[in-house]
Symmetry: C2
Subunit: 325 residues, 2 copies
């Protein structure tokens, strides 16, 4: 039986998770959010957060498109983004790297320089790791962090009536990938968004005390809204006209003859944050001077996640990208 | 410049570690022990332990020799062994797996059943992970645990005059590998030691309060003794005649015409524990009923690590296996 026969990656994860014990007194939230949440010391100590992300050569990066330093930055930032999405602060990292036998030392060092750059920016310290030989380069980072109880933002805490907000414009990383795949040169803005993404830890700490639910946008707005809906037992409506798109994304879409909303809804690796906020907190968000974009709202129709197009037609939001389909 | 040009894997790790910040108030011990040690809550709360290990197909396991369940057990146990070597208790795990595109679901599930089996045996809960597609199977596990201050066994705490002890006989895993590589069938004992190793958490908790330094034997007795010596600033003498060897290891060596001590000293993946204990604690160890084998002693000659052969000749202990040489 192949992974596609059981409905793809997400069903696989459910089946695998059932095979290993996952209950422990200290686990507040295990599988199914951006990071696991552990109560390791009594209140008022913060929760411990744990997340992991793997980058595989040719799947998540290409050596002819990215410098090794850019690959390192991306490997770190996709993990940092998960901690940001919980409302937490990242603290410690372990790095496991599988390297082909004849790799240049300078190349590996530059990957670590990139990881180090991201760690310095977010005040993260390296705890250790593993270095192994294999046929292709694989980088797995596990990141630990902490979050105060009152800052914790779970995917399951969205409430009907909440406003749905994003922290920045979407689709730029997917636009760059589309151009590169066709041998075209993306703009410097698009290139930076694709090759050296940056987590939104710069704003997540101020959003966290105000937000109900939060998630990072790594697979496109569509699937991330769906995750919030499924886990919160709610529905959502997104207004296409309100999804923020950078001019370079629009220009790239025009050049390729595609709809730029596709990239925002289903493209990956924007690493902006999607969060839900109660109506009475919206003003406080604005007072904080946070430049966020309202893209829709949470409804009480469980699992009904819709996009209202500019012609007022209502369509189902797209589901996630699947590595195995 | 290739990894072998800078002296191999261990020098690479030193160079890479220098590129990422590694100083943090809470880090008691970072890179360079079996696990990192963090002070995350005030005394008397235990330290947090963090370790990670990666298994790569064809390097650490072969599908034609191991069942998927055995691969899962091994992936978990090599991490559990690192927590045992710190004197700690394992608690939580994250599993990242890279899978080829057309892998059978049943195969992956059996890997997770193996991980689950090891987790159940050691009371470990799964926190989450990542599932990605790539050209070869790679399993990276990060394991968190805890250890009380008075149980913590660092590599750096060996003292001149300490007795050097091992928890079981050595070389069986390497003997099995040598036989399998030549198309010969190892005995059931050797097969079990190679394919389904088991961490020594069954005894580590009772050894920890008595030991000074401890390390798990994953690369052979020689390099592990050298690690203790380097980090403690001491020397060591090992008596060849006292290294415990199972009869099946001796028989395998005879069949292949090699010295079985080679496997004990330089073979990998025994996952027994090597520890040093002060003379006045030796009696307590025996009172505990722990079946340990004394293999040598710690001396004050920094970095002089010798093997006393049965003919009384004194030779340098072998250094570690290097993935990149």
């Amino acid at each position: 039986m192949k992974i596609k026969d059981i409905g793809g990656e997400f069903n696989l994860i459910d089946r695998l998770a059932a095979l290993i014990p996952a209950d422990h007194d200290e686990i507040v939230k295990g599988i199914g959010d951006d990071a696991a949440v552990l109560r390791i010391a009594p209140v008022p100590a913060p929760y411990l957060l744990v997340t992991t992300d793997t980058l595989v050569e040719k799947k998540h990066f290409r050596r002819d498109w990215s410098t090794p330093e850019q690959i390192g930055i991306k490997a770190a930032e996709c993990n940092l983004s998960d901690i940001a999405a919980m409302g937490g602060q990242p603290q410690w990292m372990v790095v496991s790297i599988v390297l082909p036998p004849h790799i240049e030392v300078e190349w590996i060092e530059d990957v670590y320089r990139g990881i180090g750059h991201a760690c310095r920016r977010s005040h993260v310290a390296l705890l250790g790791g593993d270095t192994t030989q294999g046929s292709a380069t694989v980088i797995t980072i596990t990141l630990l962090g902490s979050v105060l109880d009152e800052h914790l933002c779970l995917r399951s805490h969205a409430r009907p009536g909440d406003h749905l907000m994003v922290t920045g414009s979407l689709g730029a990383s997917a636009a760059a990938l589309a151009l590169l795949s066709r041998g075209m040169q993306p703009s410097p803005y698009l290139m930076a968004k694709h090759l050296t993404p940056c987590s939104r830890l710069d704003v997540s700490g101020r959003i966290a005390p105000l937000a109900n639910a939060m998630i990072d946008i790594s697979d496109g707005l569509g699937p991330e809204v769906r995750h919030l809906c499924t886990q919160s037992g709610v529905g959502a409506r997104i207004a296409a006209a309100s999804i923020p798109l950078h001019d370079d994304v629009k220009a790239a879409a025009k050049a390729l003859g595609v709809d730029p909303l596709q990239w925002a809804l289903s493209g990956g690796e924007d690493f902006e944050l999607l969060f839900s906020v109660a109506p009475d907190r919206l003003a406080m968000l604005k007072q904080e001077g946070l430049l966020c974009h309202e893209v829709g709202c949470i409804t009480d129709e469980a699992d009904h996640a819709f996009l209202i197009r500019e012609d007022n037609e209502c369509i189902a939001l797209p589901r996630g990208y699947d590595h195995f389909r």
